[in-house]
């Protein structure tokens, strides 16, 4: 009897574990199948076409892809130096009394849902951008800034963890040779934790590019490519969030599914690079 239960239990757990792989494969298949209509209608032009006009049944993804890339790039440019600063502060500078409360509150802030960052951005940050840079305040720039603030806690916490993996004995040896804090950070901590730090940045990038709610509030969903950052724009997730419930034709739906597929492939690739190339190396070291 117990041998039977033993076998059943083993098979049950294995079955469920494999089901997870199947679900992921299923997600890709379903998105692909639903994109077929749009792929047949537009082919590769879908990603190079700049016009998104549902009333004319014309769908081009370039403005959304451009918006995703630019807003994420802006977010990274702003968040990376801040995250490094916070991480250095937390791992090397802060007095012991501050380290733990500040560190924990940053980790807790990483748990706050992104919809709340979006809401804060809409009510408190949009007016500031409007006053400072002109325009209506709902813009690519606002989206980039709100996104950078949203990924900052995650990035800072992971960077700090990577820095903390440096063995104390290495740091102490460097201090014993007369190194300043900065010498120790740049010559010991950063080289030692490099893979982990870069990995965490790329991971944050992968998350930021798929982030929906933090940017939906402040981007405006305007399908237009503009180099003026103070103008309203769109990104792949923003388009999906705004238009999925409005789509009325098969081609419209299919185009939105193709956008989802593109987004999934992009973030899957970025996250895989972070995990397999950078963070795995750290595991071996």
């Amino acid at each position: 009897m117990s041998i039977l239960i033993d076998k059943l239990f083993a098979h049950l757990t294995k079955f469920i574990a494999i089901a997870i792989l199947l679900i992921v494969a299923w997600i890709f298949t379903v998105l692909f199948q639903n994109s077929m209509t749009s792929m047949e209608a537009f082919g590769f032009d879908f990603i190079t076409e700049t016009k998104w006009a549902p009333n004319l049944e014309k769908f081009g993804a370039l403005p959304a892809i451009y918006g995703s890339v630019v807003s994420t790039f802006l977010a990274m440019v702003l968040a990376v130096p801040l995250a490094i600063g916070v991480a250095i502060f937390l791992s090397e500078l802060a007095p012991a009394k501050l380290k733990s409360p500040v560190g924990v509150s940053i980790e807790l802030l990483a748990a706050i849902p992104s919809v709340i960052y979006g809401m804060w951005g809409l009510f408190y940050f949009v007016p500031i951008v409007r006053d400072a840079f002109g325009g209506i305040g709902i813009s690519m720039l606002t989206a980039g800034i709100v996104l950078s603030i949203m990924i900052l806690p995650f990035m800072a916490a992971v960077t700090r963890d990577a820095m903390n993996t440096t063995p104390d004995i290495l740091k102490e040896s460097a201090y014993a040779l007369g190194g300043t804090k900065w010498d120790v950070i740049k010559d010991i901590v950063i080289p030692y934790a490099k893979a982990g730090i870069i990995g965490s940045f790329i991971l944050a990038l992968g998350r930021a590019i798929g982030e929906t709610m933090a940017v939906t509030f402040v981007m405006g969903n305007v399908h237009r490519i503009s180099t003026d950052l103070t103008e309203a724009a769109t990104s792949i997730p923003v388009t999906l969030a705004n238009e999925f419930n409005e789509a009325d034709t098969d081609l419209y739906y299919s185009s939105l599914f193709e956008l989802s597929l593109i987004l999934l492939v992009i973030s899957f690739t970025i996250i895989s690079i972070a995990k397999f190339y950078f963070l795995r190396k750290k595991r071996i070291a």
Binding site: I16, L21, L108, P113, F123, M213, F257, S260, K275
Partner: protein, 280 residues
């Protein structure tokens, strides 16, 4: 200027810059927290818990519909996500171990944890909402279950691996079959860790908005039928905050406050469990 002086000055500059950026970063984050608490407490009142949604301008409007909807959608997702996640995690740690299959499942789950949640919403739309012909609470729960699974699976896997193998060997030596060893010895040893994983998993999906937008959709009134569109705190918050009506925006802040407090408490309780375990 000697070389040493140069190094000391550079050090001073870099440390100042890093402290400033830490202050900027932390300042922003506390600004958000302050806004949330200030607006949230300002908007809180009893009618929020006792009344359903109402047209703008009505005094008697609340979030009862969204609170109950949220509890149901997240509750059902937890009911499916937790046992399946724990069982799959058990496979990885106890049976699959370092096998190729187990490593692949680990890698894919790691990636899924960071994958865009709105895509899961699109997927569930295609497999549940479109065939049914309408939005439903079930669709929302299914989307959240898919998001929760990899989180529970990975934490369970990690936590079970922390249980010393000597415990397992002792139980095997007494003649216990493997399933009994796992259920009575390994699970018991990793109880606090698994619980933390569950709390963090629930906290994570409770804040998801994007995958609910086109699965459970929204409803301005109380609905407890999972087959029908259902309100959730997050989608309600999104709709109310983007509306032009001030009283709806206030309700949006109240929803944001309640949700954040719920998620923060789950996180804090989870941390306390883990700390206690480490303290032992």
């Amino acid at each position: 200027m000697t070389h040493t002086q140069k190094r000391i000055i550079t050090n001073y500059i870099v440390m100042t810059l890093s402290t400033i950026s830490a202050l900027i970063g932390i300042g922003f984050l506390f600004w958000i927290l302050g806004v949330l608490i200030f607006n949230g407490i300002d908007a809180l009142s009893w009618t929020i818990f006792s009344q359903e949604g109402a047209p703008p301008g009505y005094d008697e409007s609340g979030l009862k519909h969204a609170l109950i909807g949220q509890l149901m959608i997240v509750g059902v997702a937890t009911l499916f996500g937790v046992p399946f996640g724990i069982l799959a995690g058990t496979y990885l740690s106890e049976y699959g171990q370092k096998s190729k299959l187990a490593e692949t499942i680990r890698d894919i789950s790691d990636i899924m944890m960071s994958a865009p949640s709105i895509v899961i919403g699109a997927f569930v739309y295609a497999i549940v909402v479109a065939p049914m012909g309408h939005f439903s609470g079930w669709a929302g729960s299914i989307a959240l279950t898919i998001i929760m699974l990899p989180i529970i699976l990975r934490t369970t896997d990690d936590m079970l691996q922390l249980v010393p193998s000597t415990l397992r060997e002792a139980a095997f030596a007494l003649g216990a079959p493997k399933y009994k060893v796992i259920i009575q010895v390994v699970y018991r040893g990793a109880k606090a860790g698994i619980l933390t994983g569950v709390l963090l998993g629930v906290a994570r999906v409770a804040g998801e908005t994007a995958p609910l937008l086109f699965t459970s959709f929204n409803d301005n009134f109380l609905n407890t039928d999972m087959m029908e569109p259902m309100a959730s705190l997050t989608v309600t918050m999104y709709n109310y905050a983007t509306s032009p009506y001030e009283d709806w925006q206030r309700l949006g802040w109240a929803a944001a406050f309640i949700l954040s407090m719920f998620i923060l408490s789950l996180n804090i309780i989870g941390r306390i469990f883990l700390m206690r375990k480490r303290g032992k």
